[in-house]
């Protein structure tokens, strides 16, 4: 029986497909490549930091390496990671539709992503950028590295993200299965809706910021360069107006996956469906008000106070979601499979990330902790511990559905514990180092911090090994012959009602929905 993978053969049938499932798989492969490149850069960074003086890289090369790590991880991996891969593949299936609203636009957004990635990689070859992924002026307008190339690449990647957002909004509004009202949609779709709103409303401001940066660098019109009358803090306002909503583009789909995983592995209805749905939208809206907490040390005191207050407000909806998930586990029948292990890992790490966010939200504390390793640890706990753990949980949860193969549960547990211990070893030490005063983006440091850096580097090796183990057993699962069942976890959402690798035309007869997505124990009509 032909499924969407064996539908047509040949590379062209993949590169010019209009099928949302194939586009999702292509994104998955490109995301892995970007993650490998960014991860490799991270391992070299950590290796260099083993000692204060030069081991591998000179100061300039180190700066280029951490910019590469930041830019590739943020723009090429984590922003498109969940919406473009799992979102593209499962949004239509969870809605009971056969494709997204604009398939050609979907393919165009993948090709734009490839073009943007090409520019970023080209900038690496042409003497890569050494400004940090934030491109702060006046350094980015005065350095002699290939800033224009990288900035064009990121500009193009922004449009891929906007087009995905536009696509998802139209799909969710108009392609829902008959009977599926807004409150019968799975919560993963709710979070993708909130993410798409942010993607559409925030990314263009990044586009205009980068255009102005390029014009400033080439013609020097003097709006960011202080020597000719500009204001560098204005660039920071422009940049963070996009970049803080961008971190919610990263975390919201991750929270969406958590709802799917926790209900299936506790075989229990979600606790507080409406609360979680509304908190996704609340996060999407408040995320536009808080960008100033990245500028506490450079903006005026009145603005800092307002931003600090609003930053605390945005913490509340995240807290509500975490409490709801814990409540869902209460009296659940819990099955500790790999996806659920990653869910528990997510809860553990995301809660630590959230609490350290409270530290950084308080004005006085942030003045001490701003631009130190405390901030580095905070955003790795929230982005790695949050988004990446949810991405891995989602991938393991939907792996049998996507490829019709099952991965080995035992190997998955080994990889989980390797990554969990490695991650905590790498980044918890950085909290201590950061609050002690160790600034970030430092190539060499004072003697006393060496022990912390060495522990952190050894931890990063564990992380590297963990991901290699994961890669091995995932590829092994693809090569194994035996077919995974259609619904291995006994989930109720629509994508589990169709055969494992779904056909090209997934739903022969559009399903009719008459009850909520997670109503376990309610007899089927």
């Amino acid at each position: 029986m032909k499924n969407f993978i064996t539908e047509k053969k040949g590379i062209l049938s993949w590169l010019f497909t209009l099928d949302h499932k194939r586009i999702g798989i292509m994104y998955l492969v490109s995301i892995f490549a970007a993650f490998a490149l960014g991860g490799f850069a991270a391992l070299i960074l950590r290796f260099e930091l083993l000692s204060p003086d030069k081991i591998l890289l000179t100061a300039k090369q180190y700066n280029q390496m951490f910019t590469l790590h930041g830019a590739v991880m943020v723009f090429l991996f984590i922003v498109p990671s969940i919406p473009a891969t799992l979102g593209n593949f499962f949004l239509p299936l969870q809605l009971g539709a056969n494709d997204v609203a604009f398939p050609r636009l979907n393919l165009a957004s993948y090709h734009i992503y490839l073009l943007g990635a090409l520019f970023c990689v080209a900038s690496i070859i042409l003497g890569s950028v050494d400004t940090g992924w934030t491109f702060y002026t006046p350094y980015s307008t005065s350095t002699d590295t290939a800033v224009i190339m990288m900035v064009t690449g990121v500009f193009i990647l922004g449009f891929s993200s906007i087009l995905t957002g536009v696509n998802f909004i139209s799909t969710i509004h108009y392609l829902r299965a008959p009977g599926m009202t807004w409150f019968r949609m799975p919560l993963f779709v709710w979070s993708l809706y909130a993410t798409s709103i942010i993607q559409v409303l925030a990314t263009p401001v990044l586009a205009i910021t980068l255009v102005l940066l390029m014009i400033e660098r080439v013609w020097g019109i003097g709006i960011f360069d202080p020597a000719i009358g500009g204001d560098p803090v204005l660039f920071q306002h422009f940049f963070w107006f996009y970049s803080h909503p961008a971190v919610y583009i990263m975390i919201l789909p991750a929270m969406g996956i958590m709802n799917e995983v926790v209900t299936t592995f506790c075989r229990k209805n979600i606790f507080g469906y409406a609360a979680i749905a509304y908190s996704s939208i609340a996060i999407a809206i408040i995320s536009f008000l808080v960008w100033g907490h990245h500028l506490f040390t450079s903006e005026s005191e009145v603005a800092a106070t307002i931003f600090s207050f609003l930053t605390f407000l945005v913490a509340i909806p995240s807290g509500i979601k975490v409490f709801n998930w814990i409540a869902t586990m209460y009296k659940g029948s819990i099955d500790l499979k790999a996806p659920f292990l990653y869910f528990l890992g997510f809860m553990f790490l995301f809660v630590i990330g959230g609490f350290t966010g409270i530290f950084l939200g308080a004005l006085a504390i942030d003045i001490h902790l701003h631009d130190t390793y405390f901030v580095v640890a905070h955003f790795h706990y929230v982005m790695f511990g949050g988004t990446l753990y949810a991405f891995l949980s989602g991938m393991h949860y939907w792996w049998p559905k996507m490829f019709g193969r099952m991965y080995s549960e035992f190997m998955a547990k080994i990889a989980f514990w390797l990554i969990f211990i490695g991650f905590n070893m790498t980044f918890f030490v950085q909290f201590i180092m950061g609050s002690k005063g160790m600034p970030r983006r430092y190539y060499s440091y004072i003697e006393e911090f060496q022990i912390y850096h060495q522990i952190s580097t050894v931890g990063s090796w564990l992380l590297g090994v963990g991901f290699i183990v994961m890669l091995v057993y995932l590829i092994q699962s693809l090569r194994s012959k035996e077919q995974a069942p259609d619904n291995p976890w006994g989930a109720l959402t629509l994508e589990w009602t169709i055969p494992s690798p779904p056909q090209y035309h997934a739903f022969e007869k559009t399903p009719v929905v008459d009850k909520g997505p997670y109503e376990f124990g309610v007899e089927k009509p």
Binding site: V166, Y174, I208, I215, G222, G229
Partner: protein
């Protein structure tokens, strides 16, 4: 004019109305993105007007507001002809729609030509953007105004060129019959885009030329 060609509904939509509404919602999401894109430029304009208010008033005197006025009138007429072409295609008289489309196209072209005249006049006074600015002026931060002026009007002109390409593509589709009363979505969408470009100029004209 060729025969109107029948169009098969894509398999994932179950009726034409749903497809039209989805396309319109997608277009409005794209319009929201464009609003935010230009908002960055308006904020930059506002910030630097706040930093040096007298210079902005002095600099806007240097611009020739008569050309700006004629440009605004042309864009409003082009918006009207665009709307009339959508109206006619909905009534299936394709010739009138095509005439209106060509009118919109030429009005846009005239707008760009006037723009080039304005730019040339600026260059003669030496008001080049940013680094190459060598103009005389009572204020030493005059180059910021002209840097912003060229950036904003340049990006707006770029959007007009994209609009003209879209209109040309529409004229071809009206001609070869793939667009008709049953399926006029592309015409409506390009119309929305064109009206947006006109609205941006409506805001730009007073801010840059008159204040």
């Amino acid at each position: 004019m060729q025969q109107i060609q029948k169009r098969k509904l894509p398999h994932y939509f179950n009726n034409a109305h749903q497809e039209f509404e989805a396309a319109k919602l997608g277009m409005w999401a794209f319009m929201a993105q464009e609003i935010l894109f230009f908002s960055g430029l308006f904020v930059a304009y506002g910030v630097f007007r706040y930093f040096n208010p007298e210079m902005f008033i002095y600099a806007s005197r240097l611009l020739d507001w008569k050309l700006g006025f004629i440009n605004t009138i042309f864009l409003i007429i082009s918006s009207f002809t665009m709307v009339m072409s959508v109206y006619h295609i909905q009534h299936n008289n394709r010739t009138k729609s095509l005439v209106n489309l060509t009118a919109t196209f030429f009005l846009a072209a005239v707008f760009l030509i006037i723009k080039t005249f304005e730019y040339k006049a600026k260059f003669d006074h030496g008001y080049y953007p940013g680094m190459l600015f060598s103009g005389e002026g009572a204020f030493s931060s005059l180059h910021i105004f002209f840097g912003l002026y060229f950036t904003i009007t340049g990006l707006h002109a770029l959007h007009i060129i994209v609009g003209m390409v879209l209109i040309a593509w529409l004229m071809v589709r009206v001609w070869n019959g793939t667009v008709s009363a049953e399926y006029f979505t592309p015409v409506e969408m390009v119309g929305l885009y064109w009206h947006f470009v006109d609205v941006v100029w409506i805001f730009l004209f007073p801010l840059l030329y008159l204040l």
